[in-house]
């Protein structure tokens, strides 16, 4: 008893267009009317799938905001592991739909509890990944167990997000190299 292929096709087509609108023109332009124009799907059909403007926008957000699962690399030296992990994070910010809508999610979060939840979960994953890298380094004896890991994780992640989402400055390889160097130096010099 499979689902009607028409349902699936409609949802797929509509959400593709909604996602595109979200990235190109911002939240405000994700409307049933706009999606209808872009896809040829009739407005009434769209309202049947998503009863109001908000649910349509939420669906578009959720389609993009699903965080990619990053298997942490924890075998090499700390510097290498951290560089790899932050490189992936930076790549996501630079080149994926998530990076393009992140500012809008951040904005929504200021008035919308659900958006805050999305961010919290996303960040929890990120923090866990970085934490795994540091823990491995501690286990290897590469850095002292006394380093303030929590703070370092926050610094490691805060900088690229701040730079990209708030300052809108480029996030290139050179900057990342310097950033990782500094974080690792801190970790190694702390006793």
């Amino acid at each position: 008893m499979k689902e009607d292929p028409r349902l699936i096709a409609t949802r797929q087509t509509a959400l593709d267009a909604a996602q595109q609108l979200l990235m190109d023109k911002g939240v405000l332009h994700v409307t049933h009317g706009a999606v209808s124009s872009a896809t040829g799907i009739s407005r009434s059909t769209l309202y049947r799938h998503w009863p109001d403007a908000r649910s349509l926008r939420d669906a578009a957000f959720r389609r993009i905001a699903t965080p990619p699962n990053i298997p942490p690399k924890t075998d090499g030296p700390l510097q290498s592991d951290l560089r790899w992990l932050l490189g992936v994070l930076m790549g996501a910010l630079n080149d994926t739909p998530w990076g393009r809508i992140a500012p809008q999610v951040v904005a929504a979060a200021s008035t919308d509890a659900e958006a805050r939840l999305v961010i919290a979960e996303f960040m929890k994953d990120r923090f866990a990944s970085v934490e795994a890298v540091f823990s491995a380094a501690i286990d290897r004896g590469e850095i002292s167990a006394d380093v303030p890991v929590e703070q370092l994780i926050e610094l490691a992640i805060a900088a690229p997000y701040f730079r990209k989402l708030i300052r809108h400055m480029p996030l290139d390889a050179d900057w990342l190299d310097q950033h990782v160097n500094l974080i690792c130096n801190i970790a190694k010099s702390e006793q």
Copy 2:
């Protein structure tokens, strides 16, 4: 040849209400209609002052977003100076209208060049203040001239903004103490 007091009164009253709406309900609710309801000023008058929704919102933003001028304290030890400066910054984020609308400015910046400009200028001031603190410490010989000041400034500022605007986590005195400690330790341990 003074300006008609009616003009001034209308602008003042309307912008007060617009600012309140902006803080309480978000950008989307700053509309001519809402301001009219809140103030008793007729919609047509509001349209005469601000021709469209966008200019009204911009006016409300600009009213709040004017960054307070912070005279840097650069006399004491680095730790003390930095703690004071970041304390002021944190206080602004926690308790002023600017802190409440900052997330929305950040969001607007993703599609609006002028919002990016507002942020860029704001951050330029902030960076300059922190830079003055580090320079003074270098001049006093408290830290080496070789510390990567640019990076440290970014870390020092990125963390509180990231924590508040993106993670929506509390920015309390304990956290700030730890943060300042870590930044200072880095500055002192780097050669």
